[in-house]
Subunit: 344 residues, 4 copies
């Protein structure tokens, strides 16, 4: 079958690879219909050592189960499914508590050994899915599969951040960063009882997208003033930090009110960060780091997508066939596309 | 000054009455700008013994503080405010816990002695407000005062029911009854993380209003089938019962899923109700009765109104001056109007 | 092997039955070390039609896994485990939401067809456990197995009721009924942030047990006065109703405060109950029915038992060998024993 | 009257000062019966510039209201009360949300201008209490006033930290630091559903006190191993950091599990702290800073004290009369006493 694989030094190619087969009774094989190209894919192919040539790529997918092991419960051949971007056993202490990301058997699709043991990529005609009944979620017949495609990654991340922030109804919520995750966080905050939602983002097109989707949007240097006007000068009740690293955290602390909450979902590039400790104590700040978990949240996410409450398809601005996947990678790398998806 | 007062036997009139004066250091006097006519007003004037001739009416109001006692904290003359429909001391065990409705000093505007000691009605040029800093909420300058008018009663009730239901994000929520409170409950459920919201209502115009405001709407006999289709046959995760009494409760139990929650805000006319005990136990149902509390929830409500997340003005279909208030009562009594407001 | 089976008309016997074998890759076989005799067992053998002669009995057990199917995750032969009293698939919508009791594949150990399809009883040398990794919980080495024996049933029930009540820290909690579940509910309420806990129970020995375990205990006719003294006359913030049926519910409503919560875990014998609707509405009561779920709560329960925070062994007042199990049944039926356990 | 006042350079004295009088209708005058000497008092008298000579000291007190302004609601002359250590208006946005510490009118008893505008100290025969109905809490007749003495400060702080940590029932909770606040946090964690509670403390006497009060206690270098044994090597689910500053935070991060929560109540001496950002992100840590709020939590605290669930009197190891207050300061400064109280 055809699959997108790492070629080396920032390059991918579409190549023939063996079709996957069941390796465990808990596995399923999914015929992929849609696969996303993610910023993480670009990051991995440009990062030294994360991938070996020939490693498959892709962790966002929607498809149909074509084979299921004997231990797969509650799913059947022919089901259209969407996958979490990672897998977990579903049975250990961590999984039982909703902490699947900490499962000792965690793997992450299409990322070499970057986040656990190596498994297949989903930018391929078929993908093998370990712990299929934990990882996969049946997609309702009336749900747009292009929406379902994002459930496993950015929707889980944006929604998870909002849940972690746990703000009171009517709260003014700031989202630092208007990329894919920030856009979803903005939608999720609106869905989950926020009053005003303010997306802080330097790029005008992204601000416009956020505004079309119901948020207010401001450039970084106008953020504090805009939020102060909405809050009698108090600042944002909660901030979702979706930009990443020290700069993102400082931007978040710059707009959060006393006794407010910052949830950071932006992957930091720094190992350390100089926290303003005295201020955080005096203001009783809560700072929380969150990684999306489409396994824990799959029923809520599916329900919100199906009802149209969260619509991640607004970020799609490119579609390619599998044979043209390299073109999609290039468009995203050159920032001509925010989100290109592969339609089989 | 002019005020709407009870005349007797289902009738009101606009009459000259003395202007209110401060009776306690915690009082304020509000010059009323907008006052609502509520179903409760109609109920009171047709109910034997609730009111004496001359008793003032009205408990929904927006206005400007023209006088404030020495013990009023945090509010000043000139502030535009909206009131809760009832008053409470703010300092007792009940009030501290957010149970202001149980305060021993509770009074309810413009309802004779029906719900506590007698105080003024708000369908008047001026109204005296006891415990003003507890009862009143400053209205932000950029908030439509006609929206603020509903904060104290139907918005508090619809929102309070949704909060009490405490459903998980993505839940399918049914609202039994598409009257004013049901319409707000529908909006509040959508605002507070529901997936599908289904308003169950026999009157076509009310269903259309619910749909224009983002809900699905169905006639009672189609409710279970519609909800089953949305929930794989499980039923609604939560039901807001806003019709009232045994019939409303039975309709709610007819659509709720096993382990689901019913919150009833519809005032019952029956003293007793034959509950299907064995079924409620087997299905682990939660049944909760809730009365709105605009005092407890005022900051959330103000924030949601200001952001436009809940918009109660959609139910207004009549506006009269104070001199013409009787006409408004008649229109609502004859069901030619769902909600008429008095604009001073 | 030997097992306790139904003989007919209120009688059990210990008889040779075939040893269980794996029937599904998700099954495990457990060698039973401890099994409880439960009020439910007595109820089943005296109830017409629930059991057929020869049906195995028992749903409380601790033992060691001696065989595990290929699809059993996270458990291994040799693990000492305690079981939930029922089984569920762990993979369907209900199970994913923590509603395992509603799973279409629910079965209940040793109860004929009373609560789903028939499976083995646990008062036997060996028991087959479907969906073993969902149903079983590994018991920590330092946890008293006689405590673990109760995790699957009464601890889950008493704890589940307290969780459902969801009271604020410092709440005055009443427990109606000082039987096994009521005693655990009392312990669980104390563990989970109650202030005063008052057990309402007519039998002096049960009141003394409750008091030894940290609660206050009063006879039913003294309950309201005692609770009023603790609460300035308000009544209990939350009531756990562990007596059952209309009488239990009325006792609960008799002591709950306005805006309080009643959680009923007592199995009702009536189909219907005349609820005081007007009062429940005026007082904004919440009434919730709850069935224990040792699958959902197993990690919390294991942790609380291991730390000694909840100690269910206080109710044991009889121990018999398997050969003498009939004697245990008789003692409990004749109310000479509150709780007899079978030690293999 | 007599009062403890700052003399200069680390010294206090008992001196005659004018009796306080009502300065506002919301004030009350309290005749002090018990006053605590707090670590904060010692800190203030040794800190440059915090106090001017003659400034009164003390913020922990129990006494009887002898005079109440006209605007004081719900309290009367003759009531025995305990005070929060600070005051707030009770009516602003912050106060309404339970964030009284952020109230623009916040003051802190007996601390010069260190935490807001200057008000009286409570180590005196009488103390003036602004916003008396917000600041004071009536003490039940059957509650030990020496327990009530701690409600306003260390009980509020220890309890508030536990509430902020918001751990699941059965959680293993570590408390870093076994001083007064750590001891209360340990008791509060046990009261509020923890499984094992482990106090990490270098001083043997403090470890023994923690163990007498139901916790496990270990020296810092044994903490991780002890906690690992209780948690299968995962670490503590939640950590209350009651030691302060960078060292406390690092000790907390050293024992917290992945996806765990650290709540810091220890006042930091550093302005900045180098946070291990990559680790906190990868492990999805939540870090929260919390200051006690006896106003927000007063009903819960009073109820827990009255029921004996939290007993702060265990830390008292010295009692002096007001005339001998200097001796109490000295004993605490020389670490011969953990907690000395002044009994009038």
């Amino acid at each position: 079958m055809k699959a997108v694989v790492f070629r080396g030094a920032g390059e991918v190619e579409v190549r023939d690879v063996p079709e996957p087969v069941l390796a465990d009774p808990a596995d399923a094989i999914v015929r992929v219909e849609y696969a996303g190209i993610c910023g993480t894919d670009l990051h991995l192919i440009h990062q030294d050592g994360a991938l070996a040539p020939g490693d498959g790529l892709g962790h966002e997918f929607v498809g149909v189960i074509v084979e299921a092991g004997a231990a797969v419960r509650g799913l059947a051949v022919g089901d259209r499914v969407t996958g979490a971007d990672f897998t977990a056993c579903g049975a250990c202490w961590w999984c039982r508590g909703g902490y699947h990301w900490e499962c000792a058997e965690r793997t992450f699709f299409g990322s070499g050994t970057a986040f656990g043991a190596q498994i297949d990529g989903a930018q391929a005609e078929y993908v093998r899915v370990p712990f299929a009944d934990v990882t996969l979620q049946r997609l309702p017949a009336d749900t747009d599969p292009e929406a379902g495609l994002f459930l496993g990654d950015i929707v889980a991340t944006g929604y998870g951040a909002v849940q972690r922030a746990d703000f009171a109804p009517g709260s003014t919520v700031a989202v630092v960063g208007g990329g894919p995750v920030g856009q979803i966080a903005s939608q999720a905050a609106q869905a989950c009882s926020a009053g005003f939602v303010v997306v802080v983002e330097p790029v005008a097109e992204r601000r416009e997208l956020a505004q079309r989707c119901g948020a207010l949007a401001v450039a970084p240097d106008a953020a504090r003033a805009a939020i102060d006007e909405l809050t009698d000068g108090r600042g944002a009740d909660a901030v979702i930090e979706a930009a990443g690293g020290a700069r993102g955290l400082e931007a978040a602390l710059g707009v959060v009110r006393r006794r407010g909450t910052v949830v950071s979902v932006g992957v930091p590039s720094e190992d350390q960060w100089t926290m303003p400790l005295a201020r955080c104590f005096a203001d009783e700040i809560t700072l929380s780091f969150a990684i999306g978990n489409a396994i824990r949240d799959r029923d809520a996410l599916t329900a919100l997508l199906r009802a149209g409450v969260i619509d991640p398809t607004v970020i799609i601005d490119g579609r390619v066939g599998l044979a043209d996947a390299v073109r999609g990678y290039t468009a995203m790398h050159e920032r001509r596309s925010v989100k290109t998806i592969i339609v089989m």
